[in-house]
């Protein structure tokens, strides 16, 4: 077992898959010689050569479009988009083709590819480098959308994504790329895509979240326990498409109260889907309306206001207490 950061864990997942399956390719801007702007692709060019770890010209739509054609010819492309905010350059290829080809051709041509990118705020980056666009992708049937929360699950989920026969958008929360280390087993492991997990058990209120906000929710849960004697259950969804509605409802039926947390803006965010699922399945179990603690319906501000924008443990605690005082 090694203590790895998320970057190292993702790197491990890529290297393992590339060693096992000669059809796995990595392509993107600066992924080869420069080893990726966050070093996620470190060592891959040296080990696998330039036909498998490919530095591309600057064109996101071409990176994804190339991936589609490479997939048709039997490769498993792992396309890197350098930052979340630039994925929109490739969005039409993803919507028009990546997510549609299996359906369009009734399975004759498919896109078993991964499109991965650094995601979310919290590192004082420039404009367009801190976006949380997962709802825009989750809304496109035909895609899977995965958001790990730590090194071990990042390695397992990226492995699962690479081997998934369907296209996976893989959002890597950059705020936690290097924030923590975790024991990651030497033996490869996967996690099923579409299943979340309980990361903290509790009976009073369910905090539902993913990505970098899992830590925020856990910090809030600690504060709730220490200062308010409230035991919060924390769910880490790990995937927003498919969404683990069963896990969410099982928990909310026990606690009767829920707070959804995500950095992405509120309007039509994944939180809205979660609230809908709870209301559809567990209305009579609710003791209070479900609260959402999210980014605001604004453009994500430049980094001097970043921490004001992003949900913090205090906002989560406040929302949780509101469900208890309803």
């Amino acid at each position: 077992m090694a203590q790895l950061t998320m970057v190292k864990a993702l790197n491990l997942a890529l290297a393992e898959a590339m060693r096992e399956n000669p059809n796995v390719l990595v392509l993107g801007q600066d992924v080869g010689q420069d080893e990726g702007v966050f070093r996620v692709t470190e060592g891959l060019l040296a080990e696998f050569g330039s036909n498998r770890c490919i530095d591309t010209p600057l064109a996101e739509a071409a990176i994804v479009g190339a991936g589609i054609g490479l997939a048709f010819t039997g490769f498993v492309p792992v396309c890197e988009i350098q930052f979340d905010g630039f994925s929109f350059q490739a969005f039409h290829q993803i919507e028009n083709h990546v997510r549609r080809f299996r359906n369009r051709t009734r399975g004759r041509y498919t896109c078993p590819m991964v499109i991965r990118m650094p995601y979310g705020g919290g590192i004082r980056a420039l404009e367009h480098h801190s976006e949380a666009p997962e709802a825009s992708y989750a809304h496109l049937a035909g895609l899977k959308v995965v958001i790990p929360s730590g090194p071990r699950n990042a390695r397992a989920l990226l492995r699962a994504a690479i081997y998934d026969p369907d296209p996976v958008i893989f959002f890597e929360p950059k705020a936690i790329y290097r924030a923590t280390r975790e024991e990651v087993p030497d033996q490869p492991e996967t996690l099923p895509i579409g299943k979340g997990r309980v990361v903290r058990a509790g009976r009073d209120v369910t905090l539902i979240t993913y990505g970098a906000m899992v830590k925020t929710a856990l910090d809030a849960a600690e504060e709730l326990a220490d200062e308010h004697q409230v035991q919060a259950e924390v769910l880490d969804l790990l995937s927003v498409a498919p969404l683990d509605g069963a896990l969410i409802n099982q928990s909310v039926r026990r606690t009767g109260r829920a707070v959804v947390i995500h950095e992405a803006p509120r309007h039509c965010g994944v939180g809205a889907e979660i609230v809908a699922r709870i209301v559809e399945d567990s209305l009579l179990y609710l003791e209070a309306p479900v609260k959402r603690v999210t980014g605001f319906d604004t453009v994500i501000p430049y980094f001097r206001n970043e921490l004001t924008y992003l949900p913090d443990p205090g906002r989560v605690v406040q929302a949780a207490l509101e469900t208890l005082r309803f």
């Binding site: 036909n51 591309t56 010209p57 064109a59 739509a61 071409a62 994804v64 479009g65 190339a66 991936g67 589609i68 054609g69 490479l70 997939a71 048709f72 010819t73 039997g74 490769f75 039409h92 290829q93 028009n96 083709h97 299996r102 359906n103 369009r104 051709t105 009734r106 399975g107 004759r108 041509y109 498919t110 049937a141 035909g142 899977k144 998934d164 026969p165 369907d166 579409g194 498919p242 969404l243 509605g245 069963a246």
Partner: protein, 363 residues
């Protein structure tokens, strides 16, 4: 320092072999065996008749909006003729002649325009992609396919089609740029039919030709008379051979004319003059090739023509009849979203199924 003209290595050439008035450049005339000549002619004529039938079917409400290839038959057919079965073909929606050559059943073509995904089913023996609607987007995955062919190292090439309108889209440029950087076995064929719905070629780009856009990406460009089947075949042979032997990509601009409507939802009388269409009539690829086969090669006798006409009519009748037997499965669109249906999607499908059952039994 004196100003000098910068010498660019890439070249743009134009090619024409069989002119509209029947002159043949004997030096450039490609060798094509008699059986193929007749088969090419038959395919071209089938495509023409198929278009006519489809326009009628659309008016009768038996298929939906239709996009004809009338007048452009040589530009796609010539390309398909040169490809090996295991080469890849990436069409838009105006390559029926090419797809027919590759063995796509007429019925399948009708299914597509008739609103059924079964119309996307390529014959198993060829590596063909289905119709692509979003303009120029296919250039990207065509480039990706060529890349895959290069990595596989089995000498396969990819011919990708686009139109003059497509050459304004970013996807066209990005794809050619990547093709140049990686030296891909990509043959990008522009069917320049002079119109992108109502936008004429001269307002699509200020560039003098479309073929010259190759130069910007380090590629050679070749402008051919797209209504000259022999020139299209010769140009494609050259480009395919070059690609197959590691020589990289070529951009071919096939100069042709959209004799008909953009689609049946379009009225060209609003933006172009009938005189212009009339000017192009003598340049019809079908007329030209027919004369070549009848008068020069002497393989198209009246008897053979009659046989071909009868066979085409019968095939079209049969295909239309078979097409009209198809019924959509109302739950089919749930079944191919993922390799394995998600529980949520399955629940939605069951809900719809129950609703449709109740509707059917009148509850």
């Amino acid at each position: 320092m004196p100003r000098e003209l910068l010498e660019i290595a890439q070249r743009v050439e134009t090619l024409s072999i069989l002119s509209a008035d029947g002159q043949v450049d004997k030096q450039l005339e490609p060798q094509i065996d008699q059986r193929d000549l007749l088969e090419l002619y038959r395919t071209m004529l089938t495509a023409r008749r198929l278009d006519e039938r489809c326009l009628m079917l659309q008016r009768q409400g038996r298929i939906g909006t239709y996009g004809p290839s009338h007048g452009q038959e040589a530009a796609s057919l010539g390309v398909a003729y040169v490809l090996r079965r295991d080469d890849w073909l990436v069409p838009t929606f105006r390559e029926a002649p090419a797809l027919l050559w590759r063995g796509w059943p007429i019925e399948t073509w009708l299914l597509y325009w008739g609103g059924l995904e079964a119309g996307n089913r390529a014959p198993p023996e060829v590596n063909d992609l289905p119709v692509c609607v979003p303009i120029a987007s296919q250039c990207q995955y065509g480039m990706g396919i060529a890349w895959g062919c290069k990595l596989r190292g089995q000498g396969q090439v990819c011919a990708t089609f686009c139109g003059d309108g497509a050459t304004s889209e970013g996807d066209f440029h990005e794809a050619l740029n990547f093709a140049g950087v990686y030296n891909l076995p990509l043959i990008m064929v522009i069917q320049n039919n002079q119109w992108a719905i109502s936008i004429p070629r001269r307002r699509q780009t200020a560039a003098q030709t479309l073929a010259q856009k190759a130069i910007a990406y380090g590629l050679d460009g070749l402008q051919v008379d797209g209504n000259d089947l022999l020139a299209v075949i010769a140009a494609t042979r050259e480009a395919v051979e070059k690609a197959r032997t590691g020589g990289g990509p070529t951009l071919i601009e096939a100069v042709t004319y959209r004799m008909g409507v953009h689609t049946t939802a379009d009225d060209p009388r609003k933006y172009r003059k009938p005189e212009e269409v009339q000017e192009w009539e003598p340049r019809d690829p079908l007329l030209r090739f027919r004369s070549y086969l009848r008068d020069r090669k002497r393989v198209l006798t009246e008897e053979v023509q009659k046989e071909i006409d009868e066979r085409i009519a019968a095939q079209l009748d049969e295909a239309i009849k078979n097409y009209e037997r198809h019924q959509p499965d109302p739950l089919e669109f749930f079944k191919y979203m993922y390799a394995e249906m998600t529980p949520e999607l399955e629940a939605q499908m069951r809900e719809l199924e129950a609703y449709l059952d109740r509707k059917k039994s009148g509850k």
